[in-house]
Amino acid sequence: MDDMRQYLAGHRFFAGMSAKHIDLLAGCARGVRFSKGQYLCHEGEPANHFYLIQEGRVAIAAHTSPLGEVGLLTQAAGQVVGADWLFPPYRRSFDYRALEPTLVQEMDGRCLRGECEQDHELGYQLMLRFSGALAQLLKATRLQLLEVIHEHAVE
C-alpha cells in the first residue's frame, strides 16, 4: 500500500492532489501484468477501470471490416489510458492491447465513481486531469485528420 501511495504521489498525472485523495486512489489500485499481444480490455465491455502504464506500451485499436484491427494510438509508460470509466454509458470504445510485456496500475473506476459522487473535490481533481488528457488527445487527433485532409488535397 505504501509503495502504491508513493508511486501515485510521484505520478505526473496526479501531481498536486492531496495526500487524502492519493490515499483513496491507492486503495482503488492494483498492479496487473499483461504479456505481449494480450488485451487489457475490448471494445463494448464495461469500462470499470482506467490504467496507468508503468512499464511497456499499449495500443488503442479498433476492429473494422475489411481491414481487421487498426491501431490508432500507442501510449507508453507514464501515460494514462481508458477514460471511458468516467462517462456514461461506461463502455469501452476501443480495444487496448499490450504491444510488449506491460505493467499497469489498474484503477477501480466503479469505486472511484462512487467516491467522486461523495467527494466533489476528488471528482473535480480527476475531471480536471482527464479533461486535460482528453483535450490533448483531441488536438493530436485533429492534427492527424488535418494531415489526411492535406494529403488528399494534394493527391
Binding site: G71, K139, A140, L143, E147
Partner: protein, 285 residues
C-alpha cells in the same frame, strides 16, 4: 549565395534564369505518386547547400520548385524526390532514364548545419517533408563527429507510406543516430509507435542550451511541433523550419512566393522560427 536582382550589386548567375539540361540516370518509385530522380549535371558537378531547392523545367510544359533531397557530398548526382500533383510534376515523374529536363538553381537559404555544429540535433518531419530535410541529415551523418546527440523523429500516415523506408531501416541500425517513427494508423503487425508525429517529441530529453531542431512538414504541423518543442524548453531561435510557397522566378523578383516582407525563394525557404513566427500566424499571408 543568391542576391536580389533588384538590389545594387545584385548578380545573376547564368543558371538563375536559364535552365541547364540534366540527364535522368535513374527513376525510383518511392510510394504511389512519389518518385525519386537521380540526374547527371551537364556541368559535371552540381554543388548545393542542404535545404536549397531547384526549379525543375519540363521543356514546353512548365516549371516547378522542388527541394533537393540528395547528399551534398555527391555533387555528381542531383537527387530530387517529386510528388506528382500537377501536370509538370506528373511529367517529371513520367521521365525515364536517358531523358532530359531543365534545372535552374540552386536557390534559397540552407539548414544551418554549420552553425549548429557542436550541439545536439533533432530532425522532426512527417510525410514528404523528409525529402527537403534529407540533405541536412546526410551532412550531419557525414560529419557525425561534429555533433552531439542526433535524433530523427518521423511521422507518416501508415507504415506503407514511409518515405525512404530502406534508408530509414539503415539509419535505425546506426548506433549514433536515434530514429523514432510514428504512423497515424496501422495493422496489428506494426509494433511501433502510433500517433501524430508531435507525440514523439514528448518522449525526448532535450537540453535546450545544446539542441537545435530542424523541422519540415505542413505549416500547421510545424506550428504544433514548435509548440511541443517550446514546451520542452527550446526557444524559437533554435527551431529551424522550411516554408513552402509558390516559387516561380527563384530570385526574388516576381513576388509569387512573397510572405509579408520575405521572398521565400530568396530569404527562405529555411528560417529560424523567431524570424517568421509573426508571419506564419497571420491568416491572410
Amino acid at each position: 549565395m543568391s542576391t536580389r536582382l533588384n538590389e545594387p550589386g545584385g548578380e545573376v548567375r547564368p543558371t538563375d534564369l536559364a535552365p541547364l539540361p540534366f540527364v535522368v540516370r535513374k527513376v525510383h518509385k518511392e510510394l504511389p505518386g512519389i518518385f525519386t530522380l537521380e540526374m547527371e549535371p551537364s556541368t559535371g558537378q552540381f554543388n548545393f547547400r542542404p535545404g536549397q531547392f531547384n526549379m525543375l523545367y519540363i521543356f514546353g510544359n512548365g516549371e516547378v520548385p522542388i527541394s533537393i533531397s540528395g547528399d551534398p557530398q555527391q555533387p555528381a548526382c542531383l537527387v530530387h524526390t517529386v510528388r506528382a500533383v500537377g501536370k509538370v510534376s506528373a511529367a517529371i515523374c513520367d521521365l525515364s532514364r536517358g531523358e532530359t529536363l531543365g534545372v535552374r538553381g540552386p536557390f534559397g537559404t540552407n539548414w544551418p548545419v554549420h552553425e549548429i555544429a557542436g550541439g545536439d540535433v533533432v530532425f522532426i518531419t512527417s510525410g514528404l517533408g523528409l525529402a527537403p530535410l534529407r540533405p541536412a541529415i546526410y551532412h550531419v551523418l557525414n560529419h557525425r563527429e561534429q555533433y552531439g546527440k542526433v535524433t530523427l523523429l518521423y511521422g507518416a500516415r501508415t507504415p506503407d507510406r514511409l518515405l525512404y523506408h530502406r534508408q530509414l531501416a539503415d539509419w535505425k541500425a546506426r548506433w549514433d543516430l536515434r530514429v523514432e517513427i510514428s504512423v497515424g494508423s496501422a495493422g496489428p503487425d506494426w509494433g511501433g509507435h502510433i500517433g501524430v508525429a508531435t507525440s514523439l517529441i514528448a518522449g525526448l530529453e532535450i537540453d535546450p542550451e545544446q539542441t537545435n531542431a530542424l523541422i519540415c512538414s505542413s505549416e500547421r504541423m510545424m506550428k504544433a511541433m514548435a509548440e511541443e518543442l517550446n514546451l520542452a524548453g527550446l526557444p524559437d531561435e533554435r527551431i529551424h523550419l522550411s516554408l513552402e510557397r509558390d516559387m516561380k522566378c527563384g530570385v526574388g523578383l516576381c513576388g509569387h512566393c512573397q510572405l509579408g516582407p520575405q521572398f521565400i525563394c530568396l530569404d527562405g525557404p529555411v528560417y529560424s522560427l523567431d524570424r517568421v513566427r509573426p508571419l506564419i500566424s497571420l491568416r491572410e499571408l
